[in-house]
Amino acid sequence: MGIPERKPLSVEDEVRALLEEGRIGEAKKLVETAGDQLPESLREIFAPPKIRRVDERGVDRTPEFNWLKLNGPAYAEKWVALVGEELVACEDSLKDLLSKLGQRQFERRPLVHHIV
């Protein structure tokens, strides 16, 4: 009885195998050379990010960062929402935190972080 022939991997499977091994650069090169042999969904994953400048500004988060440095360890595993150095909400789940935030208005957008 002969050794059964191994079915060659499709290009898509090869790409996924490379990804699994963490060989992202090689996966990317293979996608570039394979072109139409790959489904659009996979090509899109490796497409360069679409980047554009937007006239929208954040705020200096130094007060929030100070709070996190000082109090972060005491809030381990919690979701926190900060406005300046004020903790405006703290919950075990993001869903509950967002629900609480939705009922309130703030002078600036809260900074949300999961202390993990």
Partner: protein, 143 residues
Amino acid sequence: MFALSFSAGRSKFLDRHPRFVEPTAKVYVNIAFPGLSQDWLAQVDTGAAYSILEQDVARELGLFQSEGKFTRLHTRLGALRGRLIRVPLKILADEGTSLDFEATFFVSPDWHGGTFLGYSGLLDRLRIGLDCPRNLFYFGESG
């Protein structure tokens, strides 16, 4: 003047892990997602091959309802099953202009870490620079 031409914007960054005392500094920057009216922190990690989205945030963005093949990727928490998904987001500038993005993230219900901006497909398309004494993160699109 040089910094202005190098980057589109800059923002303050958080330079340490908010929970653990770690021997190395970190770089957490402000980001925003369309559809969510808060700002969020993401860790810039040039050592991470790809970007990862925190699972609860992915859930809020409705990304677990996406279709597409699962991929297994090796993360610092072991091999995880998830999907590679294009996610829109903004890197927020305190000064200058923010950047609007659509980049590929690994999204897995088994990932219990935070959000990481990784090298491939995201940071490798940006100009970034740090002013460490002042905790300033400079960023701009490449080319």
